[in-house]
Symmetry: C2
Subunit: 261 residues, 2 copies
DNA sequence: AATTATGTTCCATATAGTGGAATAAATTGA
DNA sequence: TCAATTTATTCCACTATATGGAACATAATT
């Protein structure tokens, strides 16, 4: 929810993105006046911004003046996904981790305050692919999220934690910054993060951090499983597999994309 | 390829989108100078535009100064897809069409010169979902593309056809505007479009047009099948099913979203 | 028909984007 | 290793573009 500091460096573009975010965050297609309440812009200004977004195909307007995100985003995202070098490099490693564990494997990267899923490998492909790719979850209550946070340089970590708004998804969701901070320290020591049913009841996972040399992006790999079928002990056994997967993705990145990736 | 008229009404935002398009169109992650050649902007200007896009997460820069589309697009597109009212309304109808035919069903909407796939229903879910959703194909050699074109008002159709650049994907791809024009007339009469292996050899389909009352968007539904297994005759038999599917989606839209959608 | 809510247009003003040129950084070649 | 060359980044006077308050138009509501 909390999204934007009053001042931002990206001028007109930033404002346009604010509008898109506002539409994305709305529970149902917002009308013009709804948006007027959500983004801090005067009528005339917002109206032109929205018109421009519509003209560019980033927003689409229905007959009743309500707005939806436009299909042009789908088109771009499709490219963003299929061309993504990190994902391309990681994919075979994820597949291998899946083969070794038999459970669902996720790859997620840190984006803003959230972790967005870049890829997913699971056996029963009955579930719609899109149900995860591109989805975003909070960092503080997911395996990949906490793993990714642990890979951030200290200053950056502080900044991000300070900006978080904690919400208890389950009884075991970490309640505040202090608890998260303690857990991150532990993850940094062990190189492994757990989600102990902190986001969804009955679902837990093991995850390992992943980052580019320069830390210009941080990510996480995880193996997720239902608690009733896979006990915590098994998750512990998988620690080396997950760690190895993360390590080999990083090595692969380094060798393929040059030492500086 | 042909993308932009010299003048466009969306100012700064439009230019930013041009840059995104240029990155999306590149066969491999372009560097700054590559982009400089593709978008018509002076160095200083382009540099700031790119910086802004990176800061907003719409572009991401790798260690070697090459640019990729950013993950924020995935996040937005995920929302764009899951919230899309048209798709939500259409989904059960697509599923029904799939059950009746046993073959792959597509839903695509017209976006610029292309048709982008909004949904896909197929039995063997082995294929990755993202392999189609958000993908774009030319209008003039796909079933949904031609169907969608046929639903455009005359003036709009002329304009779009004039802007097309024809490329022969297969021996049966329509070669030019005249041939397409003739076929569109036929589709308007019959209400059914065929792709006779015009995009991919061995793949053909039946499609029907679909549009919102006000024509502010046009789309198509199709049943696609391999030619070796499903003969043309069978496609003909499916005509009523496809037409009914399109009709019932439109009716459903009208009733759910109000008479004006 | 009058009232209220909602959407759209206008235009003087200021802000934010522009772009040519200078600087810095990385890469290549001798 | 150092110069030559390519490539990326910064700077800033200038101006095009976005701004926003207010007037106007168009539904919806009473």
């Amino acid at each position: 929810m909390a999204r934007r500091d009053d001042a931002n460096g990206t001028g007109t573009l930033g404002k346009a993105m604010d509008v898109l975010d506002a539409v994305a965050a709305a529970p149902s297609p917002p009308r013009f006046t709804d948006l007027l309440g959500k983004v801090d812009q005067p009528r005339g200004t917002l109206h032109r911004q929205v018109s421009n977004l519509v003209e560019e195909g980033l927003l689409s307007v229905r007959g009743d003046h309500s707005y939806e995100l436009g299909v042009r985003l789908l088109r771009l995202a499709s490219k963003a996904w299929s061309d993504n070098q990190f994902r391309l490099v990681a994919e075979p490693h994820l597949r291998r981790l899946h083969d070794l564990t038999g459970e669902t494997v996720h790859l997620g990267v840190l984006s803003g305050a959230e972790v967005v899923y870049l890829d997913k490998v699971e056996s029963r492909q009955a579930v719609r692919m899109h149900s995860q790719i591109g989805n975003a979850s909070p960092t503080y209550c997911t395996g990949v999220g906490k793993a990714a946070l642990s890979a951030l340089p200290e200053a950056e970590l502080e900044r991000r934690i300070a900006a978080l708004a904690f919400r208890a998804y389950t009884p075991s969701t970490l309640p505040d910054a202090a608890a998260l901070r303690r857990e991150i320290d532990e993850i940094r020591r062990s190189g492994i993060a757990y989600d102990r049913e902190e986001h969804e009841p009955g679902i837990h996972c093991v995850a390992a951090p992943l980052h580019s040399r320069s830390r210009d992006f941080v990510a996480g790999v995880s193996v997720t499983a239902p608690a009733y079928r896979i006990p915590m002990a098994r998750l512990h056994e998988w620690e080396p597999l997950v760690r190895d997967c993360a390590r080999s993705i990083m090595e692969d990145m380094a060798s393929r994309l040059g030492p500086r990736s």
